[in-house]
């Protein structure tokens, strides 16, 4: 394993992020502020408390998850798709590195960017609502794991995508709906019983629930189930990446 190569890819990718720092920084701050105005102030004023937490504070973990999942996925998918698109992938394929270095470099950079945005949103939310973090270490661990696992998913999408449209397809059609329906803005106990059961098949529920537990010490599903869900999701992504690595699918002819 060449640590030098991983670091090189990581730095190169991070530089792309810092080239567009204004955009990377302002866009999550602005959208978070909008969510707080719309959901927190306008709608939230009519909702007293959810599970003993003010509605404004209740949506913070969901908001962070929403951005982090989409950002990690799109950053990683774009990161590996771009060299494929402009042809510079030849360099990654002819370098004395294996797929492991490539994954570590691109996924590491995408996860870092998503983590950065997650932290920015968290900090922004302190200006709007009063929140206490019950389990700060667990919160960071959940955040980092989510960043990494969704960056892995994004990497797979980037390898699979044959054009820019396909690149947008999964984040837009799968991740965003699953996050919105996964209890980012409500507790699933607020749903009718049938929908509660259906919702339990949405994997994102477990991630948001676990993350919310680290803030408020309570959640829709048990913390054990949440940990299992994120571990399973990460394992599936790693398995798919391992398979891509073995077969050279869509990369090496």
């Amino acid at each position: 394993m060449s640590l030098n190569a991983i670091w090189t890819i990581y730095v190169f990718e991070m530089r792309r992020f810092f080239r567009t720092i204004t955009q990377s920084f302002i866009s999550p701050v602005l959208s978070t502020a909008l969510y707080f105005v719309v959901f927190g102030a306008a709608i939230g004023s009519r909702i007293d408390e959810v599970e003993g937490v003010s509605y404004g504070a209740f949506i913070v973990p969901g908001l962070i998850m929403l951005s982090v999942m989409t950002q990690a996925t799109t950053n990683a998918s774009f990161g590996i798709y771009f060299p494929k698109f402009i042809g510079t992938i030849y360099e990654l394929l002819s370098a004395p590195i294996s797929f492991l270095e490539v994954v570590a470099g691109y996924v590491g950079a995408a996860a870092t960017k998503a983590l950065f945005i997650g932290v920015v949103i968290l900090v922004t939310s302190f200006f709007f609502v009063d929140i206490q973090i019950a389990h700060p270490l667990a919160m960071m661990a959940f955040l980092v794991l989510t960043c990494v696992s969704f960056a892995l998913l994004g990497f797979i999408i980037g390898i699979w995508a044959g054009n820019f449209e396909q690149l947008q397809l999964i984040p837009l059609l799968v991740i965003t709906p699953l996050v919105f329906l996964g209890g980012s803005f409500y507790s699933i106990t607020m749903l009718p019983p049938v929908w509660q059961t259906i919702t339990l098949f949405n994997p994102v529920v477990y991630l948001i629930s676990g993350f919310r537990w680290s803030f408020f010490g309570q959640a829709d599903v048990g913390i054990g189930a949440s940990l299992f869900a994120i571990a399973l999701f990460t394992a599936i992504c790693l398995a798919v990446i391992w398979w891509i690595f073995r077969t050279g699918w869509r990369i090496r002819q």
Binding site: N4, A5, W7, E91, I97
Partner: protein
């Protein structure tokens, strides 16, 4: 001299069944410039891509510096620099950063002094902080070469380095290649410009339809296969070739003012002396004589035609 790159029994078939390479054997000697000539679609790029690890061989073995490119790919690829045919560069990065990236990717520690030296050799130094997208096509091609050289390779593959490049830049590129050879780098270049192979290569390989037709020392190739042509200009036009000269397989020009005689320079007898004597006997008056040697192009066209 020993082979730094050795290709044995290499076969590459694509998923659709197309056989791009059919049992290729090729040894590349350390320190030489080998030009691979072939028409479009001959398998030149596939051969290079397979040696460099971009495509996986269907069967056969390749070693670089004694390392198998499959089993010991890290050691093998570390020795190779590749300049691709297409100008594939990250447009938003600066020249220096993109060259640094290539070096790091090959696991080498940062060494800006070395990289600056390469940029100077390629007349890119004053552009080092410019974004790649602001450079001209010729400059971009040099950036590709700088990237390939950034990790100090012992073997450099140049895939059509002068395709679509103007004459002046092509000459510059030849000079760059000559300097690289002088610094001890083994160079393999593909081209379909015969004059390029003729101008810079030590050995020439001809590839067509996935097969290496020949690999030979350039000078040997040209003298061995090179046929010469003698043009005899006559003082007065003749209507037909005299019977006395029937044995010589002469060709009469349409205007009857000249005769063409083909002969092999390596043949034991060229037959020129007796031909000239017989011409006089037949009463033909010579005005002038011209000889012409067939170029690599003629040889190449002849070879490729045979396999067509």
């Amino acid at each position: 001299m020993s082979a730094i790159v050795s290709v044995q029994n290499l076969r590459k078939a694509y998923a659709g069944g197309f056989e791009a390479l059919k049992s290729v054997d090729l040894d590349i000697e350390e320190g030489e410039i080998l030009a691979l000539l072939g028409p479009n679609g001959a398998g030149k790029t596939t051969l290079i891509s397979t040696i460099c690890g971009i495509t996986v061989p269907t069967s056969g073995t390749i070693t670089v510096g004694g390392h198998d490119t499959q089993k010991a790919f890290r050691a093998a690829r570390a020795l190779i620099g590749l300049v691709p045919q297409e100008i594939n560069l990250e447009p938003f990065e600066t020249v220096m950063n993109t060259v640094r990236f290539s070096r790091g990717l090959f696991g080498k520690p940062r060494n800006d002094a070395y990289l600056e030296d390469i940029l100077k050799q390629l007349s890119l130094y004053d552009k080092k902080d410019n974004k790649v997208m602001t450079l001209s096509g010729g400059m971009k091609r040099r950036v590709l070469i700088a990237k390939a050289l950034s990790h100090e390779p012992r073997v450099l593959f140049l895939d059509e380095p002068t395709a679509g490049v103007d004459v002046e830049l092509r000459k510059d590129m030849w000079e760059v290649v000559a300097n690289l050879k002088a610094s001890g780098v083994t160079i393999i270049l593909t081209t379909h410009y015969i004059e390029e192979a003729e101008a810079i290569a030590d050995r020439v390989g001809v590839i067509n339809k996935g097969e290496i037709l020949l690999v030979q020392d350039k000078a040997d190739l040209m003298s061995q296969m090179g046929r010469k042509q003698l043009k005899i200009e006559l003082s007065a036009a003749i209507a037909a070739i005299p019977d006395a000269l029937a044995d010589y397989d002469l060709t009469r020009a349409d205007d009857g003012l000249s005769l063409l005689y083909h002969y092999d320079t390596k043949g034991e007898r060229t037959g020129i002396t007796t031909l000239l004597a017989n011409l006089q006997k037949a009463g033909l008056q010579m005005k002038d004589l011209q000889t012409q040697q067939s170029s690599l192009e003629d040889i190449f066209v002849g070879l490729v035609k045979e396999t067509a």
